[in-house]
C-alpha cells in the first residue's frame, strides 16, 4: 500500500534488477544463453516471492511457471542434442565467454558448477561489467531460488550452495558429475515449478482439514519414553524439519535418534530421585 504523498523508491535490489533488465532490452550483443538465464532467474525469484504471499495471484503464477517450463524444455533439448562427453583436450575454462556460444554448448555456462568457478576467473578479465554481475547473480540466485521452491510449504530455506568443486585443473573427471548435478537441478527445478500450485490447492480448499489423517501428524514423535512412569525433556536439540514433503505440519522434532540416550540419562536421574525420596521419607 502506498502511503499518501510518499514517493516510492527503488530498493537496491530493484535498482540492480532494473539495470539488468534494461541491459537485456537494449543490448543486442548479450548472448542468448545469458538472456535466457536472466529471464529464468527473474521467474524463479518472482515465484519465490509469490510463495511468501498469503494469496498469490494464480494468473501470474501460471504465466511465470509456463515461462520457466519453456526455458527448461529448451535447455533440456539442447543438452540432449549436445554430447555430454568432453574431449580430454578441451577444458571448459579454455572457452572464452563469446566462444561458449559459438561452440554450441551454451547450456554449460549457467549451471555447470566447476565451469562457473573457472568462468568467474575468466569473467574478471571480461570488460563488460554487466555480464560479470549477471553470471555471479545467476549462480547463487538460481540455486537458492530452486532450493527454496523445493522446500515449498515449509518455507525453510536450507540453502547449502552446491558443492564447490575443484579448480580448473581437475575439471575433467568431475565433468560428468556436474552434468548429472545439472540435470538433477533441472528435474528439481521443473518439479519446483510444478510444486508452486500445490499451495494453491491447500490454501483454496475448504476441506483441507479432512485430508489430514490425525495419526500422520504425530508419526514423527517417538512416544516410547512416555510409556514409562517418568517423563523427561529431550536433551538433544530438535532436528530440522524433514525435506521434500507436502505435509505442512511435519515440523515436530523427531526424537528417534536421541531417545535411547535420553532414557539412559533419565534412568540415572530416576535412581537419584529414588534416593532422595528415601531420605525424605526416612524409610
Amino acid at each position: 500500500m502506498l502511503g499518501r504523498g510518499l514517493k516510492r523508491k527503488l530498493s537496491d535490489y530493484e535498482e540492480n534488477m532494473a539495470g539488468l533488465s534494461s541491459a537485456f532490452d537494449s543490448s543486442r550483443n548479450l548472448p542468448y544463453p545469458l538472456k535466457r538465464q536472466l529471464v529464468l532467474n527473474m521467474c524463479l525469484t518472482k515465484l519465490q516471492t509469490y510463495k511468501m504471499l498469503v494469496e498469490p495471484n494464480l494468473h501470474r503464477s501460471v504465466l511465470i511457471a509456463n515461462t520457466v517450463r519453456q526455458i527448461q524444455e529448451e535447455m533440456r533439448q539442447e543438452s540432449n542434442q549436445q554430447p555430454i562427453n568432453v574431449c580430454p583436450g578441451i577444458t571448459p575454462s579454455s572457452h572464452s565467454y563469446t566462444g561458449m556460444e559459438s561452440s554450441g554448448i551454451p547450456l554449460q555456462l549457467p549451471s555447470g558448477i566447476s565451469q562457473q568457478e573457472s568462468n568467474c576467473c575468466d569473467l574478471r578479465s571480461v570488460e563488460d561489467p554487466i555480464e560479470n554481475s549477471l553470471l555471479i547473480v545467476s549462480d547463487d540466485d538460481m540455486s537458492s531460488a530452486i532450493s527454496s521452491i523445493l522446500k515449498d510449504l515449509d518455507f525453510v530455506e536450507d540453502i547449502s550452495p552446491p558443492t564447490c568443486l575443484v579448480p580448473t585443473g581437475d575439471d575433467q573427471p568431475k565433468f560428468p558429475e556436474n552434468t548429472g548435478l545439472k540435470l538433477e537441478d533441472d528435474r528439481q527445478d521443473l518439479k519446483g515449478a510444478e510444486c508452486v500450485f500445490g499451495s494453491f490447492e491447500i490454501s483454496n480448499s475448504t476441506s483441507y482439514l479432512k485430508d489430514l489423517a490425525i495419526d500422520d501428524i504425530f508419526e514423527d514423535i517417538d512416544t516410547s519414553m512416555y510409556d514409562s512412569d517418568f517423563c523427561c525433556p529431550p536433551l538433544m536439540p530438535p532436528r530440522p524439519p524433514s525435506l521434500a514433503t507436502e505435509e505442512p505440519l511435519k515440523t515436530f522434532p523427531s526424537c528417534n535418534s536421541s531417545s535411547a540416550s535420553n532414557i539412559q540419562i533419565c534412568r540415572t536421574d530416576l535412581s537419584e530421585l529414588d534416593h532422595i525420596m528415601e531420605i525424605l521419607v526416612g524409610s
Binding site: M1, L2, R4, G5, E14, M17, A18, L20, S21, S22, F24, D25, K35, R36, L38, V39, M42, V54, E55, N57, L58, H59, R60, V62, L63, I64, A65, N66, T67, R69, Q70, I71, E194, C195, V196, F197, G198, F200, E201, S203, N204, T206
Partner: protein, 341 residues
C-alpha cells in the same frame, strides 16, 4: 458523503483509484468502481440551449458503497473490496439496475430517483411524529409535492460464496434473466432472482493443480444468442461454447487461436499473448480481444486467425524484460466497441 466529487479536484487517496468503468446502454450514465469498494455514477448533462457544448459533460449522479472489505476466517484471507467489474442491466422501468463485483461477491443494485414526496398524511405530522388517532377529526388525501432530486441506491440481491478464485468477469445474458460470472478456473451461471444457487458451466481446474497451465481471463455472453458465450485464456485463445450442447461446457464449439509468428518469438511471448478482455460487437458477428500489445478483431466464422490486428503500443515490445521485471507486463487492459459497430 462525496457530494462534491469533481474530476478536476481529485485528492489522491489509494482507495480512489478507479478500477473499472462502464457506460449503460444509452450512454447517459457512466458507472465507475474504485479500489475502496465505492461506485460513483455520472450522468450526462441534458441538452441546454444556453450552453450548447455542455452535452458532453458528465456530473455526479449517485455515489454508494458497494462492497466492504471482508475477512475469510477459514482461510485467514482478507477479501479486497475493490470493484473488479460493473455491468448494467437493460433498463426496463424508471429505475436503473447494475451488477457490481469484487473478487468473491456479486451484488445487484437498484438506483432510483425520487423527486416528489407526499405531504398531508393523516396518521403522522409533517415532522413524522405519530398523531393520536382519537384527535383526528377529518381525513384528507396526501398530495405529492416536488422536492430536490434524490438518487437512492439499494442492494437488491447478493450473490455470494460461489467462487473459490478471483472473479474477473460478469456478463448479463440477452434473456435479461441470467448472467455469468467467471473466475480463474470456473464460470458460473446465475439467475438474477435466485441468490442461493448457481450452475457451474465451465470448469478447467485440473485434477492435479500442478498440471495447471492455463487460466480463464474474461468471459462474455453473445448479444443475441442466449445460449452462446465465449471465454478467453491466458494462452491467447478464445473458446466459444453453446450451452445447449451439454450442461458442463468443458468442450468448446469453436476454438479461436492465431498461430504464433516465429519471428517475433521471445521469452515473454506467452505472457503478452494472455488476453485481458473480450467483447462481442453489437451485431454479434465479430468479437474483439485485447492482449498486452494489440487489439484483434475476430470473425466468429473464422477460427484460425483474426480479421484485423491493431498494434496499440508496439514500442513496448523492445522493453519487455524491464516491464516483466517491474510486473507491468501483467497489467490488464480493456477494450470496447464503438456504439455503432
Amino acid at each position: 458523503c462525496f457530494t462534491h466529487y469533481s474530476a478536476a479536484i481529485s485528492v489522491l487517496f489509494t482507495a480512489d483509484i478507479i478500477s473499472t468503468v462502464e457506460f449503460n446502454y444509452s450512454g447517459d450514465l457512466l458507472a465507475t468502481g474504485d479500489k475502496g469498494g465505492r461506485v460513483v455514477i455520472f450522468q450526462r448533462e441534458q441538452e441546454n440551449k444556453s450552453r450548447p457544448h455542455s452535452r458532453g459533460e458528465y456530473n455526479v449522479y449517485s455515489t454508494f458503497q458497494s462492497h466492504e472489505p471482508e475477512f475469510d476466517y477459514l482461510k485467514s484471507l482478507e477479501i479486497e473490496e475493490k470493484i473488479n467489474k460493473i455491468r448494467w442491466l437493460p433498463q426496463q422501468n424508471a429505475a436503473h439496475f447494475l451488477l457490481s463485483t469484487n473478487d468473491k461477491t456479486i451484488k445487484l443494485w437498484k438506483i432510483s430517483e425520487r423527486d416528489k414526496r407526499a405531504e398531508g398524511y393523516n396518521l403522522k405530522d409533517e415532522d413524522g411524529r405519530l398523531r393520536d388517532p382519537f384527535r383526528i377529526t377529518a381525513l384528507r388525501v396526501p398530495i405529492l409535492k416536488p422536492m430536490d432530486l434524490m438518487v437512492e441506491a439499494s442492494p437488491r440481491r447478493i450473490f455470494a460464496n460461489a467462487h473459490t478464485y478471483h472473479i474477473n468477469s460478469i456478463s448479463v445474458n440477452s434473456d435479461h434473466e441470467t448472467y455469468l460470472s467467471a473466475d480463474d478456473l470456473r464460470i458460473n451461471l446465475w439467475h438474477l432472482e435466485i441468490t442461493d444457487r448457481s450452475f457451474n458451466i465451465v470448469d478447467i481446474k485440473p485434477a492435479n493443480m500442478e498440471e495447471l497451465t492455463e487460466v480463464i481471463t474474461a468471459a462474455e455472453f453473445h448479444p443475441h444468442h442466449c445460449n452462446v458465450f465465449v471465454y478467453s485464456s491466458s494462452k491467447g485463445t478464445i473458446r466459444l461454447c453453446d450451452m445447449r450442447s451439454s450442461a458442463l461446457c468443458d468442450r468448446h464449439s469453436k476454438f479461436f487461436e492465431e498461430p504464433e509468428d516465429p519471428s517475433s518469438r521471445s521469452f515473454f511471448s506467452e505472457i503478452i499473448s494472455s488476453i485481458s478482455d473480450v467483447k462481442f460487437s453489437h451485431s454479434g458477428r465479430y468479437m474483439m480481444t485485447r492482449d498486452y500489445l494489440s487489439v484483434k478483431v475476430w470473425d466468429l466464422n473464422m477460427e484460425n486467425r483474426p480479421v484485423e490486428t491493431y498494434q496499440v503500443h508496439e514500442y513496448l515490445r523492445s522493453k519487455l524484460c524491464s516491464l516483466y521485471e517491474n510486473d507491468c507486463i501483467f497489467d490488464k487492459f480493456e477494450c470496447c466497441w464503438n456504439g455503432s459497430d
